[in-house]
């Protein structure tokens, strides 16, 4: 997908076949590959949603607590705000990268980390609170599917936070190289993708569960 400059080639000397390999655009190739990985990650969530969908019937809760009993919409909304702000912070870090501002990028990464960690703290507190009320994965099929789906998303956030720390270290040590910039782009896609998945989780698991 690289273009050659060719203005009015002279028919006598024009090169018809490119005999040399000029190399491909490493970053855009890797970005497409990573995006396709993210789509497979979306398949992972699709299967979890499918499992939750078939385990959220009346009888799936075995007469026990249903999401209508334990979902706290405004509490989970605070998680939403934390995650969306984290995603915004990371985006701002990337625009700083475009301006070749290393300080701006680090600030964005740090902001994304802190806000993502806030999301995780809120989430873990929620799960522990559920457990203290006797609502665990062992309570019923429905609660199991609910907890696993939400916590798999939280696990993605956790590993994303580790990755952010690694990138902060790499940018401080190596600066902006092809490798580090490519990884920052992949992490951006990963992080933004988590926000998209969270919309699905929030609406179709938390809020729908609260309604039913």
């Amino acid at each position: 997908m690289s273009g050659h400059a060719s203005n009015n080639p002279d028919p006598k000397t024009a090169v018809l076949w490119d005999t040399e390999y000029h190399g491909h655009d490493v970053i855009s190739t890797r970005s497409l590959g990573f995006f396709m990985y993210l789509l497979s990650d979306g398949m992972l969530f699709a299967t979890l949603f499918a499992a939750y969908g078939v385990l959220s019937y009346q009888h799936s809760y075995f007469g026990g607590p249903t999401p209508a009993d334990f979902v706290k919409p405004w509490y989970t909304f605070s998680q939403t705000i934390a995650l969306f702000l984290s995603v915004l912070a990371y985006g701002m870090g990337m625009t700083a990268l475009k301006r070749r501002s290393r300080g701006g990028l680090i600030n964005g990464l740090l902001g994304a980390f802190v806000l993502g960690a806030l999301f995780l703290v809120l989430d873990v507190h929620d799960v522990m609170d559920l457990a203290s009320h006797g609502i665990t994965v062992a309570t019923s099929g429905g609660t199991s599917a609910f907890i696993i789906l939400t916590q798999v998303h939280a696990a993605h956030i956790f590993f994303g936070l580790l990755w952010i720390l690694v990138m902060i270290y790499q940018v401080l040590r190596l600066g902006f190289t092809t490798d580090t910039v490519g990884r920052l782009l992949s992490l951006r896609m990963f992080w933004h993708f988590q926000a998209v998945i969270w919309v699905f989780v929030y609406i179709f698991v938390y809020l729908w569960g609260y309604m039913s």
Partner: protein, 103 residues
């Protein structure tokens, strides 16, 4: 391409829609079926906004292959969730004993 304005627009749109959805649900503003529909629409618009503003899924030459990949995957997502849901709802219909309070 990444731009501060684009990321901020995506943030604003999705946050506002999630706020509306949460407010409607927690205040029980409408009968359940209507509410489910409204918050699904909120989710749909929010997801489209995020996919466009955050993931840069558009038909520019730079991003076209990402867009093609996503569009090719969407039927897979629909089938995975939809077919599974349909299979199990049919299964439950035919095999679950009638239970009090079952809809």
């Amino acid at each position: 391409m990444s731009s501060g304005r684009g990321y901020f627009s995506g943030f604003l749109i999705s946050t506002l829609l999630m706020l509306i959805a949460t407010f409607l649900v927690s205040s029980h503003a409408a009968p359940p079926f209507g509410l489910l529909l409204v918050i699904t629409v909120c989710a749909g618009i929010s997801i489209i906004a995020q996919i466009y503003f955050l993931l840069h899924i558009d038909i520019s030459e730079h991003n076209i292959w990402n867009t093609v990949s996503l569009v090719a995957f969407i039927p897979l997502f629909v089938l995975t969730i939809g077919l599974t849901w349909w299979m199990f709802s049919q299964l439950y219909l035919r095999t679950m004993p009638p239970m009090p309070g079952m809809h």
